[in-house]
Amino acid sequence: MKAIGPVRKKIPKLPDVKKRAIKLSENVIKKTQKANRFFLAVGEINLFFWYTIKASFSRDFEFREFLRQCYLVGNKTLPLITITGVVIGLVLTIQARPVLAEFGAVSMLPGMVALSIIREMGPVVTALICAGKIGSGMGAELGSMKVTEQIDAMEVSSTNPIRFLVVPRVMAATLMIPILVLYADALGILGSWAGANIKGEVNFVLFISQAFSAVGFMDLFPAVIKTFFFGAAIGFIGCYKGFTAGRGTESVGKAANESVVVASLLVILIDLVAVQITDMLL
């Protein structure tokens, strides 16, 4: 219990008011600076995007660098994607089976699993893995090149660093991620067959034909198209974050980290949009 006394409104003393005003204006300035930085970043990312597009259509394409990047993208992610692909198929099958059995619809199992892998699980999971592995790799590599002035050195030897570094990486990601997704899809279906095999023998050919009879062109096509966008987004964000890294070494880690976060988020957002668009078309 508080002692009852005269109610006294706390009237701030003058220096207090002054302090508060200063704090308020400081806050306003901070907020404006934040907003400014945001718009600057938006402008910067736009500019970077158009430079990349422009450089993609330039005459001398760095083909060797492109091949090297394709190899690196595949090489870095293949083991992880192999394991994930198989496990997704396996898990989906094992979990869906009892539910389907309840309705006496176990014969629908292959088709259902194949559909969910091809339409959603394969693309998104693969893209998220690539966002982690490739996005961070590109962010860190280009970030450290930026910090150690290697990008500047390229520029002064009259090489457009966007053409030499960014374009091959973005293109490699755009091309390789769809391939990796198809690979993950195939392994997922294989894993699903293995899962179905746990409870009684299932003929492989039968399983596959059942699976694919459920999958139509309009299931596969939009799913493949969106993976190109996933790839482009991952490559672009990784390169952008690396390219705009600050001056100290700690900004390399930051660039890698941010590219994973932003690329993963973009993958999910693109997926959302893609699902809406396919829904409208069907």
Binding site: Q150, M154, V156, S157, S158
Partner: protein
Amino acid sequence: MKSENKIASLAGSATLSPEQVIEIHNLKIGFGDLPVLKDFSVQLFEKENLVILGKSGSGKSVLIKCIVRLLNPDSGTINVLGENVNKLNDRDLAKLRMKIGFLFQSGALYDSMTIKENLEFPLKRIKKNLSQKEMDEKIEDTLENVGLSDTLHKMPSELSGGMRKRASLARTIVVDPMIMLYDEPTTGLDPVTSDEISSLINDVQKKYDTSSIIITHDIECARATADRMIMLKDGEVYLEGSLDEFEKSPDELIQSFFKPKKM
């Protein structure tokens, strides 16, 4: 020959006497609240070695980065070979940069490439008409000049700090630029290698008639190479003169650069 004519014609078109290769007027640049160069003017003449002295953080690296437009100044003009660097479009800028060699203070070797590939990188892009064999020869020659002939197939990470510095010097001079900008070419090297690098700078200058700006703290290197010197302080030229004038200057700051270090 061709390029010489070009300088002359370019110089004729601008208001520039022929022997001025770089002309900087009232250069001003800062980062945030920090002014780095305030009102900086300097010229570099043809076939001249200009040594720039200045304390750490005085803006020497910033200055030469402005010359190749890695940084954009807040105001002021920079003319290189008669062209206003800040008004060039991308293509012309790339052409101009081909004539300028830039040695980064940090070396900036491409660490995903071997030393040979590092030297090949600018060579392929700037001297497009060389055959592979000529290129290989040139690379080997240049590496030998900096005393690194046995590192051809090594990665930069396998070299020592001084070796990296020399490799990056090799990468800069391999394309025979008309203008050389050296950012501390001898820092971190032993006295013997430093002397070698200084005489290499002189050799390059004589052989290809290059004009150079040499940023250094190494007084021996300055003694060996300087035709003219300037001291940078507080964003302005503090003193300009010949080596002699610098050595005889009563100014304390200048003397602190010249007197031997106390043990």
